[in-house]
Amino acid sequence: MQNPTIHKVEFSGNARSYFGIWIVNILLSIVTLGIYSAWAKVRTRRYMYQHTAIDGRRFDYHATGMQIFIGRLIVVAGFIVFSIVSAIPIIGLVAIFGLLFLAPWLINRGMLFNARVTSWSGLRFGFDGSYWRAFRVYILYPFLSLFTLYLAIPFAIRAQHSYSVNSHRFGTAKFHFESSVKPFYVAFLLAIGWMALAGLLMFLVLGGGEIFAEIAMAERTGRAPDDALMLRMGIFYVLLILAVLPAGFIYQAFLRNAVYGATSLAGGHEFRSDVKPMQLVWIGVSNAVAIICSLGMLLPWAHIRMMRYLSDHTFILANGSLDDFTGQQEESVGAIGDAYADLEGFDVGLPV
């Protein structure tokens, strides 16, 4: 690529205008016992996408609240039936196995739906998934890494990103992902290392060993541990969680930089992310503290702050004009997969 044009991702959302959207969404969701949340999701997404642009060209989100609502209705009904059925012996086992084989299909449907309802510069994204490849990367590989005591999990994570990126299109232009496994190990080991170190330090500083010994002693003598001991253990756990928290952000930062750096789009366009792990830790932890101290009212501010930081550190290295992408007619798909992703808590939205 000679002389690429570098475009930074521009995010123009702000906490003031987002706050109104967020709080009205919550009120309407409460009044409708959660039904409106499908429309709320669409409104939030549209706000975020329409305020994100590259080279002055905006993203947009085209799903309708009704699509999301119907998808959720089906998934919630399935979830309830599954919860009840899984309490029955043999049928429960069959149900769990069934879900294992259903999951790749649902994940594919979720990514397909999200790609097709997302546009940039007036053109929609697309997704060409494969059931068995999804089964391999989301079910089989993580299962196999169990036998390596999770030491091989970075291989599985790389396979998942490779599958996801390689299956996506922008119009007819395919995305491509090519990376060694090294950055995935770096992210994994640094996060594990932080957890081990922070955990050990907390254990030594707060006398975790002593607490556990006393509890074990209390158990052996058959007497319930007294209040003071329980309180000390509670404080120990809270501090331990706080100390371990940064590991997640460190992992996320390294992984994001690695995935963006390894992604390209047909036509010779490349992507970069230069998120700083410690800055992400600072934003993530201070956001969490602000949200808790404000009883959730600073959540929109926290969300916007994170979006702004991430977009400030995301770049597209365009090889020539961004005018020449073309698309094809795409059929619309149901939102079951998207609803499943919502419930499972993984996000397949805009990767900013």
Binding site: A40, R43, H51, G122, F170, G171, I291
Partner: protein
């Protein structure tokens, strides 16, 4: 938008995107007689058709769909209002504007969360229970007993005579207790070393009693009072209520709060679980109250339940830990409450 100088004939500047292309075209939109025309940078005609406005969000662009997959976007919102009419603007946008009025919305949200917690969940739980067919509950019981037997229970080692005696008490209680909702009361004896002296009820009417319980609390009245307590859990559908309550909390948090971020979501879920413990304690107290009435009706001394808790209290060394993180109320408090109720009702068998 009176006072704005433009007449409907003035073209609105913006950008257009054609069907199936990422090309960004500097364009202008003109509307006359319900017919929208999109002009390119050299004044060439790009498309003629009907214009449909999408609702605006925040400081986002005004977006207009025109026939054949053309789209026009502009930040000249007032000109578009003049052109296409103010009424096509988003209904919600006005309410979402940053304005002191939002304080009321915030307060309404807090009130709403409180009301859902206090009443809404109860309604959801009641609906769930009403919709649960009896065979499902029986299947849950069978599944649980099979799982208990597989994982940690062994056949009872009590001799047959002793079991028959306890069973006779059980039959007296079953006669006196309210009708079980999902199937007959059934008593199972098991040797479960890990649970110690214990008895528990499954939602479908199956009650499991450990050998250690019969050995340590051999007194007929105590066995009767504890069985009455467990039967009350069955008739009041306490375990189903707790199952549906936790399911509903999970769903409501996922739906209403939606994207609260990873850390905050965990805190919400943990908080919900902690608050559910309060309901569990409420259920225990309710089962105590019903249990002593059933025991008295069957001809046993209801005060034995208080004796039982007094002895339990002595065995655990009096340290139940603070109440707020326990699923059961403190034994001492329960014994006192039971005595108070017996006196109040004049239930005593002697």
């Amino acid at each position: 938008m009176s006072g704005f100088p433009s007449d409907p004939g003035t073209p609105v500047p913006g950008h257009a995107y054609g069907p199936g292309s990422s090309r960004r075209i500097a364009a202008s939109l003109r509307v006359a007689d319900d017919q929208a025309t999109l002009f390119g940078p050299q004044g060439e005609r790009l498309v003629v058709g009907h214009a449909r406005r999408r609702d605006r969000i925040g400081a986002g662009p005004s977006l207009i769909d025109i026939d054949d997959g053309w789209r026009f976007e502009t930040d000249a919102h007032e000109m578009i209002d003049t052109l296409l009419g103010h009424e096509q603007k988003a209904g919600l946008m006005e309410y979402e504007r940053f304005h002191p009025r939002l304080v009321l919305v915030v307060l309404a949200c807090f009130a709403g969360v409180f009301l859902i917690w206090r009443f809404g969940l109860g309604v959801l739980v009641a609906i769930g229970i009403a919709l649960t067919p009896a065979p499902f509950v029986s299947a849950i019981d069978r599944g649980n007993i099979a799982a208990i037997d597989r994982v940690f229970a062994q056949p009872s080692r009590l001799d047959a005579d002793r079991r028959a005696e306890v069973r006779a008490i059980f039959d007296d209680l079953a006669q006196a207790a309210p009708e079980p909702p999902y199937g007959d009361y059934q008593l199972h004896f098991r040797h479960i070393p890990r649970l110690g002296a214990n008895a528990f009820a499954l939602p479908g009417g199956n009650i499991v009693m450990t050998d250690a319980f019969v050995r340590q609390f051999g007194d007929d009245d105590i066995i009767a009072a504890v069985l009455g307590h467990e039967m009350a859990h069955v008739t009041e559908k306490h375990s189903l209520q707790q199952l549906y309550r936790s399911l509903s909390i999970y769903l409501l948090i996922a739906l209403i709060a939606g994207d609260v971020g990873p850390v905050a979501e965990d805190i919400l879920l943990e908080g919900g679980a902690l608050m559910s413990l309060a309901y569990s304690r409420e259920h225990e107290s309710e089962a105590d109250a019903i249990g002593i009435r059933v025991a008295a009706r069957a001809g046993y001394d209801p005060a034995a339940l208080a004796v039982f808790f007094r002895r339990l209290d002595g065995m655990t060394g009096g340290g139940d830990g603070p109440q707020w993180y326990s699923t059961h109320p403190a034994s001492r408090d329960r014994a006192a409450e039971i005595r108070r109720q017996i006196e109040e009702l004049g239930l005593s068998a002697d």
